[in-house]
């Protein structure tokens, strides 16, 4: 009788714990779905579109002639092909470093000064709105980063190197968390950024509105936070190391669908 009872409780407990585990991941998905209907990233998109067209800066010019890789002023589809090589600057650039170039050449801002500005302030805040608008124009498109130019291939190799480089007080690399399937931090499932679907899902979700900080984060700010969590110094805003990481993740995510600007917890 006693054994029977024990057996019965064991049978009862098993499905319960399975259900509890499932509801955690489901709960997060449900929470995201509820918030997605009113994703505040839309506010940033609207603000970014206005900023793109507004004449600003020392030269009092808009950004509408900015070449994001598909010709001057072409925004649609540009995001899913970045980072890429630009012949005018002679370097591979991601969306944010390219915007710095445009803001300097067209509007007369100092790219160096903006790169040094803390995230979320002054022109950095404007860049966050601009990346929301530009990425939003490519929503639902597939990532197709060019790898034809030698510089682009080089940046992929450098990005791979940076991704796997371990160091710092925790002896961490990006790959410690994002190099295998089914890893997580607390309750957050982590994407495997070395291949699809993880690379497409992970890379394709930023820029995103981060509910916990109430801000829209671009890829640069996201990478800064990765480095902070690894107790690493950030390589610097729009630095080649961060752009190389973008190339590595973006090329791995080829064919993945861009959901940016997405919504994160």
């Amino acid at each position: 009788m006693r054994w029977n009872l024990l057996g019965l409780t064991a049978v009862c407990l098993l499905p319960l714990s399975v259900a509890a585990q499932k509801s955690t991941a489901e709960g997060i998905a449900e929470y995201r779905a509820m918030l997605a209907d009113g994703n505040p990233a839309e506010l940033y998109e609207a603000r970014g579109e206005a900023l793109w067209k507004q004449a600003r800066g020392p030269k009092n010019a808009p950004l509408t002639q900015c070449d994001l890789g598909k010709g001057p002023g072409v925004v649609k589809g540009a995001f899913v092909e970045l980072p890429r090589y630009f012949s005018d600057t002679g370097r591979v650039q991601d969306l944010e470093s390219r915007l710095l170039t445009c803001m300097e050449t067209l509007q007369g801002f100092s790219a160096e000064a903006i790169a040094k500005t803390p995230f979320g302030r002054d022109e950095q805040k404007n860049i966050e709105s601009l990346v929301a608008y530009i990425s939003g124009e490519s929503r639902g498109m597939k990532f197709n980063l060019p790898q034809a130019h030698a510089q682009e291939k080089l940046m992929y190799a450098v990005g791979k190197q940076v991704f796997y480089q371990r160091g710092g007080p925790y002896d961490f690399s990006c790959a410690s968390c994002h190099g295998e399937d089914n890893k997580r931090v607390r309750l957050q499932d982590l994407p495997n950024l070395t291949k699809n679907p993880g690379a497409g899902d992970g890379f394709g979700a930023w820029p995103a509105y981060r509910v916990s900080s109430g801000d829209l984060w671009g890829m640069q700010r996201r990478l800064n936070d990765c480095y902070r969590q690894q107790r690493f110094p950030f390589p610097g805003y729009a630095s080649d190391a961060t752009i190389a990481l973008g190339v590595f993740m973006g090329v791995n995510g080829k064919g993945g669908v861009s959901t940016a600007p997405a919504l994160k917890r």
Binding site: D37, N39, E42, L43, R47
Partner: protein, 103 residues
């Protein structure tokens, strides 16, 4: 100056559902900045909506409402093409009104 709201209004049968995304800091007055000084409270105190000039929703908000809040409500009546206007007033006296057409 405040950024515009995003308003979507949809009529379905007798009911019109309105979804509003408001751009506002909604500072609670409980937080401290890097220097340890209290960040002054700054939040929407009253938000209301009108349909063809008639008030259909009125709410008093406080500091517990999130930054960039999302508001959804429904009212009876309203046809495609009608206008819905949403206005808010915050504790600094700033106000903003935006309008949308029901689809």
């Amino acid at each position: 100056m405040s950024d515009p709201m995003r308003i979507r209004a949809q009529a379905q049968g007798e009911k019109t559902t309105v979804r509003v995304l408001v751009s506002h800091e909604m500072e609670s007055g409980q937080r401290k900045d890097a220097a340890g000084k209290t960040v002054p409270a700054w939040f929407i105190q009253n938000i209301s909506a009108t349909h063809n000039g008639k008030t259909v929703m009125n709410a008093q908000w406080g500091p517990a409402v999130s930054k960039n809040p999302f508001l959804q409500f429904a009212f009876k009546g309203g046809k495609a093409g009608d206008k819905v206007a949403v206005s808010w007033v915050d504790n600094k006296g700033d106000k903003r009104t935006d309008e949308a057409v029901i689809s």
